[in-house]
Amino acid sequence: MIDALVQNSAERVSRLRRHDFVRNFRRGLSLMLSERTTRIYGVFLLFILTLGLVGPWIAPYEYDQRMRGDDGGLLRIEEPSAAHPLGTTEQGFDVLSRVLYGARPTIVAGILGGSMIIGIGLTIGLTAGYVGGRVDDVLMRFTDLIYGVPLIPATLVLIALLGVGYFQAIFIIGALLWRGSARVIRSQALQIRERPFILAAKATGASRPYIILKHILPNVAPMAVLFFALGMGYTIIVMAALAFLGVADPFIPSWGVMIRNAYNSGVMGTAWFWALPPGFLISLTVLSLFMFGRGYENVVSGEDEGDQALAQAT
């Protein structure tokens, strides 16, 4: 009986492995690992992600724990030392710990914002591209409208309306930045729509939503991954910008907030160990996201075109 169970589960696993989605995913993964650019930046991202996950646990101190010296006095703006490898802030907090704690809110913001951007972008892009006609016109005019809205000023206005807050800020960013992805995905959908296999599905009686979900979406996936990565990057940058402008929630210790605090204290020039680490990490994260996204999209779509071109070239 055990044998039968083992047999069954083995079969189920192999069937799962052969499922289209899984195979596409694995192929994407192996392509990612094969290219040098995506590999390197992928590793950085993994590192950053790990920081986000385990940051608070490996931090030597609490993020709001004031460091006191032997004499009981507050250790303000201390240079890096053995006890505090990245020094301390003006409030006496350990910079390293704050950096480690700060990873999580920064990354979470990126993920939430990126998801919202790609979510709205895909919905609008696919619908406009595939359905076409009136619907396309209306959706694209709407997109144009959002394009016309200048990002930071509009964000400030909306924050004034909705109030300063971590989630509010992410929501506003997501609600504005989907515009770029929608356009591009729409044009991809337009192209894919004309390909014979779509016509074949229609000819068999497939419904519109079915075709969009089962045929168009998987084929725009590489582009979607790219815009997800870009969306995450932009969200992180704009969150940091908002923090710097002073309209972010100061109680959530993201990296952007750290830079703001360093700036506020007036010692940013001399206390390099305070502002530099978070600034560097934001840059690294966003760069990795952009490069990874681009590289991924390049490699995956390049593969598809490459085969066809090679077959026809000789």
């Binding site: 077959a311 026809q312 070239a313 000789t314």
Partner: protein, 350 residues
Amino acid sequence: MSEPLLDVEDLTIQYRTKNGMLTAVSDASFTIDRGEYFGLVGESGCGKSTMAKAVLGGLDDNGEVTSGKIRYKGEEIQDYSEQELNEKLRWREVSYVPQGSMDSLDPLAPISDQAWDIAQVHTEMNREEAIEQFRRMFEVVGLQESRIDDYPHEFSGGMQQRAIIAISLFLEPSLLVADEPTTALDVIMQDQIFKYLDEIREETETSMLLITHDISVILESCDEMAIMHSGQVAETGSTVDIYDSPRHPYSILLQEAFPDHRRPDKELGVIEGYPPQTTGEVDFCTFVDRCPWAVEDCWKGAPPLEPVADSRTDGSTDHMAACIRRDEVHELYEEERSFGAADVEGATND
């Protein structure tokens, strides 16, 4: 016999790819004489387009001639620099008609301007002379002279292709390389174009290297031809010889597979398998897995292109085949045919 216009000798062309050196052409040899129309036929992956590009020095960036020679009017050209190619060869000596004319003409300039641009770069003529010569060529290809200042979009597809032929011929090159010049066109247009190509052959000494997958066009319009398979030249000779007595298994089977509209009941031959993609040195016959008459030795070295015994014409043309069994295969084939065993039913794996 005067020296040939184009002499390709043991040419090997490879592409640098992620998976190694992809061999597009392997030890290929053939010659084209002056005033001769030469057809190069083969299926996808056989290397014919690569060959065309190599003659013009237009290989893609990752392609290179790794061995062998291309001689034009006696001079080796396979290693010419871009500058040498432009000064000595392109347009004036060797010109090119590509597939899909629409992409080759600048939509923003009148045709006469485009012809003048080329004449400027490659010759010493002034504009009047160039336009005059172009006008004459326009007429030869059956287009109205008065229309030389029209824009490309004002012509139909077939006429655009003819305009391109006019452009490629007006500087009177000795060799015209045409890569699938009529594949994108309808059959009546194709015939119109070949009518003019026939006339051009009568009136000038221009040679043509015609590359196509359509063997009927070559059999009708060319004097000599070569059949390629997976980078190797399988057979060369006059079109008459190759039609009357094909000696390479691929030549035989390819002609069998070609539908003929005059005989709709003809049993179409099937060639099993598909042309292999080869990397590195090719030291076997690429047709071996598809050949019904293959033997062990076919794996032991690339078969050399050698003259065929007992050619039915008067022997003045070089009828050659790259097959170690070239002198027996046609007999075997005749036998099989008369026993009706040439068909292979059942599982195919094309």
